[in-house]
Symmetry: C2
Subunit: 206 residues, 2 copies
């Protein structure tokens, strides 16, 4: 089966081309799975990423040298997943999860990524507002920053989502429902200094 056929098959008709949902997922998920092909075999690594308009910036921070192997020009997928809840049915067969997911397909691109801008975008994704609180990057830091870009192109991404309750139970007296799930940030643990900055306090209270 061709990859185009797979794209059609796995894109839910009601969410097809839902770019707003794509952006929402890409902006919410901090770490995705980057996959490519090496010597005919699948190869995957978790990566911090951030959407920068119509492209996704990917940082090499989580894999020593990983970006050297997922080089510019490599065909990749970037998968992002949000667990929104556990769907509790009356039978195990009907248990499910509420979620939002995105898979973006494309070719990594090395050109046209300013490392200073990329560091700002990636850091702001990790901790919103943080770039405004710290000094600007040094030349040495920028030289050591490995960033690649994955363009978001029409027909090259898929969003999927499930929400809402389980189906009707066989016996309506049985408890069925949804357990909402989310990522929470707990009280910051101080390493140095006195008071966490505004960006960190916003993250925890937000």
């Amino acid at each position: 089966m061709s990859t185009d056929a797979l794209t059609r098959l796995h894109r839910k008709p009601d969410r097809a081309g839902d770019r707003a949902l794509l952006d929402e997922i890409l902006d919410e998920v901090k770490v995705g799975t980057l996959s490519t092909v090496i010597e005919g075999l699948p190869w995957s690594v978790p990566m911090l990423f951030a959407r920068d308009g119509d492209r996704i910036l990917i940082h090499g921070s989580t894999g020593a040298g990983a970006l050297r192997h997922v080089a510019a020009g490599a065909p990749v997928t970037l998968t992002a997943f949000v667990l929104d809840g556990l769907v509790v049915a009356d039978t195990l067969f009907d248990h499910s999860a509420n979620y939002r997911s995105a898979v973006v397909r494309g070719t990594l691109d090395e050109v046209d990524v300013d490392p200073s801008h990329a560091l700002d975008v990636l850091s702001d994704k990790l901790i919103p507002g943080r770039p405004d609180e710290v000094r600007t990057h040094t030349g040495k830091e920028m030289a050591a920053t490995a960033v690649l870009a994955l363009p978001i192109l029409d027909g090259q991404w898929i969003t999927k989502a499930r929400s809402g309750p389980p189906g009707e139970p066989e016996d309506a007296s049985q408890w069925t429902g949804v357990v909402p799930a989310r990522i929470t940030y707990d009280r910051p643990i101080t390493a140095t200094g006195d008071e966490p900055p505004t960006s960190v306090r916003s993250l925890v209270s937000g």
Copy 2:
């Protein structure tokens, strides 16, 4: 570069062969990314999975027909990622994340998976204790259950982890530290029935 070389490169020496860490990650993460190669290109889909001893059971619930394309015999990676915290440094360059991740490589296997056992294992992963609260599976349900197994083999998996504070700041008066992150489950939303079962109440209070 050969995939064996990549395995060595990306496996942190101090966590090499840390099967306990692998099991911990696989047992904690409910949905991973399954990747394979189709017509030479990477192909990925989020999948509910559960460890069953020395193999990983993968359920087709999240992708309509996805398992038909990631058929038995296909080379795959399964990637699981846990975000444990945000690492706040004094420079954007040194910001990072605390995490635990696993990538398991192998070939999907269709044989020797009893659908009834697989449904129990997968449901118990989603909501621990739930299989004991519901009726047994019908033959129709088992016939409609698509499950594949990925064996956990020596040398075919990688665990990686970061924990602890950021490095020393340039100016020790600057606030640096860690913001712990975790998945929390909120108060269940009832669809039918009165009182959530023990398994659901344990999940929320746990």
